[in-house]
Amino acid sequence: MINSPENIKKTCKGRAFKFGDDISTDLIAPGRLFHLRSNLAELAKYVLEDADPEFPKKVKQGDFIVGGKNFGLGSSREHAPAIIKLSGVGAVLAKSFARIFFRNSINVGLPALICDTDRIDEGDQLKIDLEKGIIKNITKGIELSFNPLPEVMIKILNDGGLTEHIIKNRGFNL
């Protein structure tokens, strides 16, 4: 499965923050903050604020975003997964992802995992082992599996993201 390059934690543990279906990139990194796109650290202070105004204040290192179907639909802005990662989130779990968001997440080194998120509630303590491919819901005492990533994406993620992959290989090595 997934190794652990320096910038991606092999295992992480934290709380689940639950969101609904169709969380758009306009909710994650809204256009009204367009001027902050060249300042990701500042933009990250508003991550998902339009979906849950308290979220940026509450989220801690290692926590998880848990969505429903079609997470990340909308714009191609890579800033969306980039600021989720910057806010400390260890992985995003959803029933399904919009295509560009999914690809961008892997490129920035943010694990985006497809699993049955109906079995996770707000505030549940989760532990994820990327190498073993297991999500433990500690609060509920259950284990969930997640869909394996395509081989090319595992390679990119294992290098730490697309930039690192290209630097390492001086081009694609997929």
């Binding site: 001027h35 909308g74 919009a98 560009i100 081989e151 993201g161 694609f172």
Partner: protein, 418 residues
Amino acid sequence: MGKTISEKIISKHSGRDLKAGDIAVVDVDVVMSQDGTGPLAVSQIKKMGFSRLKNPGKAIFFIDHASPSPRRELSNAHSVLRSFASDTGAVLSDIGMGVCHQILVEDFSCPGDIVIGGDSHTCTSGALGAFATGMGSTDIAVGYALSKTWLMVPHTIRVNLIGKLNTGVFAKDIIIYLIGKITSDGATYRALEFAGPVSENMDMDGRFTIANMAVEAGAKTGLFNSDEVTKAYLESQGRGNCFREISADPGAAYEKIIDMDCSVVEPMVSQPHTVDNAIPVRELEKIRVDQVFIGTCTNGRISDLRIASEILKGKKVADGTRLIIVPASRKIYLEALKSGIIETLVESGAAVQNPGCGPCVGVHQGILADGEVCLSTQNRNFKGRMGNPEAFIYLSSTATAAWSSVRGYIADPREVLK
């Protein structure tokens, strides 16, 4: 076995015989980003240690989203793009030129090309028969530097547009209706291929509108065969020489085939806050509109401005309603000026702004107030899209938008188009 358009184009660009589900590194013909995604692409190119671009003549940076810049941070971001383009020989499309996707189809994309763009609506070029798709800044950075990307050949959903378009019904109504049926993730990871008599008889402007919104169903791209209509369009742009015939083989394998009878489609709107929340205008209760916006990469073309001017001629925008009109490109703006369309629109009370994205993404030029309602011809009505999460956005065709601006509420254009 026969191939879909995606299988043909991606095979050709990888030098291998590929089918849906295969993954390959491919050569790309056109790479672009805009002022929201370009600066991050530039910093990624630098971080990866590249100082030259493989094909600068087909590497384009657009300044269209915040154009002209409404604030200092964005002016600085623009300046990054201007100097990077000048250092590397990349093409800069500066303020006033227009929306990236429109300039791509006017000046850059060709049938059979692979086009990647740092903007989700890059799929618009699919109307020319190009495999065109949106990606994030890092993928685009690699595309700029190496003219390569990796792609999974998508499975294809074929949409046969059959029947005929009734009076007052436009390409925009067709695509809103379709997305209402298949939902916002009904085509995720898939290509949509449009065919059938209605698409064959459709002008390029209509095809652009439909291809543009393929991503609103989650699709990777929205494709049309290239044909005589495509050829005539390219010739009108002075690019007849880039015409190639691209079409799906008769025996191509589709994941699904949808036969959509266009005769039953009425003027449609998407209600807040998702595109698939679709309903015929006729079934809406009277919804007052504070702002009407006609423009964008979806519906800011000459045929849009023309139908708007036909509807608005000799009439006035309703009291209490504002009408903003933004031509998608400079070429379109000039054509509308020369033919008197702009004069008619301005006389009716419209505020006509310079080519670009206008208020579409909530950066400038028409941000909504709390609780306000906007009817827009754009492609997306997500909460917060036009700069205010407390506002409500409805989407429609240009005819519906123009007529609603006269009425002051969302109104059926068949009242005036007979």
